[in-house]
Symmetry: C2
Subunit: 185 residues, 2 copies
DNA sequence: TGAGACATGTAATCGGTTACATGATTCC
DNA sequence: GGAATCATGTAACCGATTACATGTCTCA
């Protein structure tokens, strides 16, 4: 019955969106197709199998609306296990590996955690993010300095793009931390 | 004999690195493991099969060094077809889809194109990039404005991170364009 | 003589992509 | 009645991940 659910980014996005309100596969496709929500394919070949896996894993439960008609619409909602799984994935500490390999997923986690973990925990998450970026940036800068000669001209510039991207993300995070704490009530 | 080669990002990275100097699978693994070169797995299960596919496709050719010994080292170099394929992939126009879905691959293309396409073409590539980012940013800002109410607090902030990332990349590109043109000789 | 770097591969598994397939409902 | 939108799915294929497997060479 219970099937292990692979913690893919897509499954996290689905859990997060469904936690907000019950959604059908078609709804999810529309969200991915028409909003800048992460970068997920809106192809049925990705979404419907993912929903099946989540349901087999016991994290979501589908209910058929408008039974009677053929081509019924099925909306999914989180089960208790699903809530726990979502909370776990959103609460994981931020690692330097996340910063290097999965920055987009970290931003997705932040986008989804508001309702689940609250404002102050969101701010703490961003503080972790800033601190990990702060730890990684010197590595990047050192690499640029040490390898300048071996790197091609364009290669060195590309590295600078990576550095600029992280600096911009850290600036954004610091600004949002202030905002979240200021508008606290 | 000739096998179609899927244009994955990994295959582009391999072609680009090999174009610079002949490399073995182990060399590639080391580069992916120890430098901030794109975000590629250094696992043998990804690299050796990719090399095989490229060789079957006639884009690269391996030569065994130190034959005699067991565990010989094999380095690969581009064939004429490989050069053409690399040039083609680096010369493709920048689309808005690339900007939305494959920004990292665009930066990789820039990093690799110096020797192949030259300085002025690199600058032209960045101009295309800047112009496509310029076309996409208003869409993103409009979405933020229009959806502000529907979006969760964190969701709106996350969108702002996306905007900040693109702005930083555009700033970087404009600076590099000036640099490339200034240091021209 | 043992650790660690050098060096290349395979096998099972799995998620995503692409393409295909089907049918209902709504609106002009 | 035809187009567009709503709505769900399957099948073939393929590349990446993970884990396993093997053996060499160098140096302390």
């Amino acid at each position: 019955m219970k099937r292990a659910v692979t913690p893919s980014t897509l499954s996290l996005a689905i859990l997060g969106l469904i936690s907000h309100e019950p959604l059908s596969g078609y709804d999810l496709r529309k969200i991915f197709a028409t909003t800048p929500m992460g970068h997920f394919s809106n192809s049925p070949g990705a979404i419907y199998p993912a929903l099946s896996r989540l349901e087999e894993g016991g994290l979501i439960k589908g209910t058929i609306e408008k039974r009677e008609t053929l081509r019924p619409r099925q909306t999914y909602r989180l089960t208790k296990d699903g809530w726990n799984a979502l909370k776990d994935r959103l609460s994981k500490p931020v690692t330097e590996d996340d910063v290097i390999w999965r920055l987009d997923e970290l931003v997705l986690r932040f986008a989804l955690m508001g309702d689940v973990l609250g404002r102050e925990n969101s701010a703490l998450f961003l503080e972790e993010l800033v601190s990990n970026i702060g730890a990684y940036l010197p590595t990047l800068r050192a690499h640029l300095k040490a390898q300048r000669k071996q790197l091609s001209v364009n290669g060195a510039y590309a590295l600078e793009q990576g550095i600029a991207k992280y600096e911009a993300t850290a600036r954004w995070a610091r600004r949002v931390i202030r905002d979240l704490r200021k508008n606290e009530r």
